[in-house]
């Protein structure tokens, strides 16, 4: 085996691949199960975008906080939220991450630094400023990272938060997950600037655009920003240009996409295939090693679905609990 030329040790490469594969299989399976009609509510899938969540969150530990979006499964898995509990939550079961009270759009695990997927676009940006403020006050070198789409990038909350993070010099990173579509509306229509780097400049913070399907590009750019933020260098913006394999939500007919767009993207811009090709060509991870991870992950997801389906539903009394700490 050749020398590892990557900025990650082999163990971390394996962890990164496993995380991305887990997100992919989780989403592909939810897609299938949702179509069967067993999963209630709204579901927004992250498949195709795995390199972004993983490349960034690989730099984080539990003291670092992230705020996610309505498309939050990938961020949750990368941040270490239990996959079985996530699946149970999506099925609305009592054993879910949120005891069945949150669902796909609200999975959270504060102990893991995961401050919640969020049904309100752009709502995580102010929250993460608070997390970054708390980290700064404690002096624990923790960072706060908020993910938002190109759609939510137009929310006042995001723009206000970028200003606030800049004037308070907060260890906060603003990640634009630019998949080109705000629901069905193209970024070409809805965003007035050509580059988010210009928006970052408008708030006096560095901004970098990377190919969000390239795990290593995301990893390196995010690492630089996170190191800078931990050292007191303040906030930054990272734009990841990426691909959403599925629709905005499950059930979206995606007629706004070009003909063959999804198939083309899956064939040429699949971040997992790109990662696998890079590491196997470099001889750092073999196809066999990755296939073994794939089998492991498939087993994990299968177990998560089987367990979730047979898990108990919330009890009627749960309707009224956990509104307040005390009342």
């Amino acid at each position: 085996m050749s020398t590892n030329a990557f900025p990650l040790a082999k163990d971390d490469l394996i962890k990164s691949y496993r995380t991305m594969r887990t997100i992919r299989e989780f989403e592909e399976r939810v897609h299938v199960e949702f179509a069967k009609g067993d999963i209630p509510g709204f579901v927004h899938l992250y498949a195709g975008e795995e390199a972004c969540a993983t490349g960034i969150i690989m730099h984080l530990s539990d003291i670092d906080r992230i705020a996610s979006t309505h498309r939050g499964h990938g961020h949750c898995i990368a941040k270490g939220v239990d996959v079985g509990a996530m699946m149970a939550e999506i099925y609305g079961k009592a054993t879910g991450s949120c005891r069945g009270k949150g669902g796909s759009m609200h999975i959270a695990d504060l102990a893991k630094g995961m401050m919640g997927a969020n049904g309100i676009l752009g709502a995580g940006a102010p929250l993460i400023c608070g997390a970054a403020l708390a980290a700064k006050r404690r002096g624990d070198r923790g960072v706060g990272i908020t993910f938002f789409g190109d759609g939510a990038s137009n929310q006042g909350t995001v723009l206000e938060s970028m200003n606030l993070a800049a004037i308070w010099n907060l260890p906060a990173i603003f990640v634009v997950e630019n998949n080109g579509y705000a629901e069905s509306t193209s970024i070409d229509y809805a965003v007035a600037v050509d580059s988010y780097v210009d928006r970052a400049a408008g708030f006096g913070m560095p901004g970098v655009t990377v190919d969000g399907t390239d795990f290593f590009a995301v990893y390196e750019a995010a690492g630089e920003m996170i190191r800078r933020a931990r050292a007191g260098g303040g906030p930054a913006l990272l734009e990841c240009r990426m691909i959403r394999f599925f629709g905005h939500f499950e059930g979206d007919a995606q007629t706004y996409k070009a003909k063959g767009e999804n198939e083309h993207n899956r064939a040429t811009r699949d971040c997992l295939k790109l990662f696998a090709a890079r590491v196997s060509e470099a001889g750092v991870l073999s196809q066999a090693e990755m296939e073994s991870i794939d089998r492991e992950v498939l087993g994990l997801i299968e177990e998560a679905v089987v367990t979730a389906k047979s898990a108990p539903l919330p009890a009627a009394k749960d309707l009224l609990t956990d509104v307040y700490v005390s009342y």
Partner: protein, 339 residues
């Protein structure tokens, strides 16, 4: 030791005592120190009405002046509360909820429930409420009912400095999000307030006047107007019991029901607009839970279904007056056929 101090000083003391007691308490808001980055003096304002004046000298960067970005800093306070701090955010005027409401009602209020009980958000949002300042439609509203409607939020609205100090200290120590509503016309009101720290539980009403003929339920500024009405009624031999709710969520139904069961008559006074208000809420609860005790239909004295007007002539008509409250109480005592 109790001294006669203002409502404003009582709030300032509560903040001072809690900041001294708990290093996780921080205060943030617009101009709460004042003069940030400006060439003149620091601590120039201490909030628009000077409530936080002087705290900066003691606690320094635990007071954070914010840009005029309510969504960002209210949201940041909520995020910080989820991460171990105990922020007191000042929204200045509650009317400004319009530009940050999502962070309050979709984020702070929902985290505990939506995350299956695993989150807590110990934040206090202080804001001025109420009319009487000639501040017109966007700086004068009594928006307490909107927050009371939201599960997950607690809502407090004291009528005097003694209550304000004890309730604010309790609110800061509380582990749920609390909307702490301060009536701007009360800042100068003085009463006896102990120097030391003390707490008043949320959800405990205060019977501020005993009476056997009619129950007047209210909160905030209109507690004082209700007491004036009660004095006027007493001259006619009518003894009104006046209940200051103090906190609207949780609310002390037991004290209200106990009183109505004794008097058989209810007047609810609310400076909020009449529809879906504290007044309708209390009247409905009493009707549903103490109907047999009622000797007359409950009377509601509220602001009209209008924005708050500017002209003093009109604004004075807008806020429930002692005369209107007394008239409503008298109505409940008239024989049913004559009513």
């Amino acid at each position: 030791m109790a001294r006669n101090i203002s409502f404003k000083q009582a709030i300032s003391e509560a903040l001072d005592l809690e900041m001294r007691r708990d290093p996780n308490v921080i205060i943030l808001g617009e101009d709460i120190v004042g003069g940030a980055g400006s060439p003149g003096e620091r601590d120039a304002w201490g909030g628009v009405l000077g409530v936080t004046k002087g705290l900066y000298a003691k606690y320094g960067d635990r007071l954070l002046d914010t840009p005029l970005s309510e969504s960002a800093y209210i949201g940041a306070a909520i995020g910080a509360a989820c991460c171990g701090l105990r922020p007191v955010a000042e929204l200045m005027f509650l009317d400004f909820m319009g530009v940050c409401f999502d962070q309050i009602f979709n984020q702070a209020a929902k985290f505990k429930y939506m995350f299956g009980g695993k989150a807590q958000t110990p934040i206090v949002i202080r804001a001025m409420v109420g009319a009487g300042f000639r501040a017109a439609a966007q700086h004068s509203q009594m928006l307490t009912p909107i927050f009371t409607h939201i599960p997950g939020l607690k809502v407090v609205c004291p009528s005097n400095g003694y209550d304000a100090k004890g309730l604010l200290i309790q609110s800061i120590r509380d582990n749920d999000p609390v909307m702490f509503c301060e009536h701007k016309a009360l800042y100068g009101f003085e009463n006896d307030v102990p120097q030391e720290s003390y707490t008043i539980p949320l959800g405990e009403a205060n019977v501020v006047r005993d009476g056997e003929h009619v129950t007047i339920v209210t909160y905030g500024l209109t507690v004082h107007r209700s007491l004036q009405a009660a004095e006027a009624l007493a001259r006619d031999g009518i003894e009104a019991e006046v209940i200051d709710l103090r906190s609207l969520s949780p609310i002390d139904w037991d004290t209200v029901i106990d009183s109505v069961e004794r008097t058989g008559r209810l007047v609810v006074v609310d400076e909020a607009n009449p529809r879906c208000s504290i007044a309708t809420d209390v009247a409905a609860y009493v009707a549903a839970n103490a109907f047999s005790a009622l000797k007359a239909a409950p009377r509601l004295v509220t602001a009209p279904h209008t924005p708050v007007p500017f002209s003093p002539t009109l604004e004075d008509l807008y806020i429930p007056s002692g005369e209107k409250i007394a008239a409503a109480a008298s109505q409940t005592l008239k024989p049913a056929l004559a009513a």
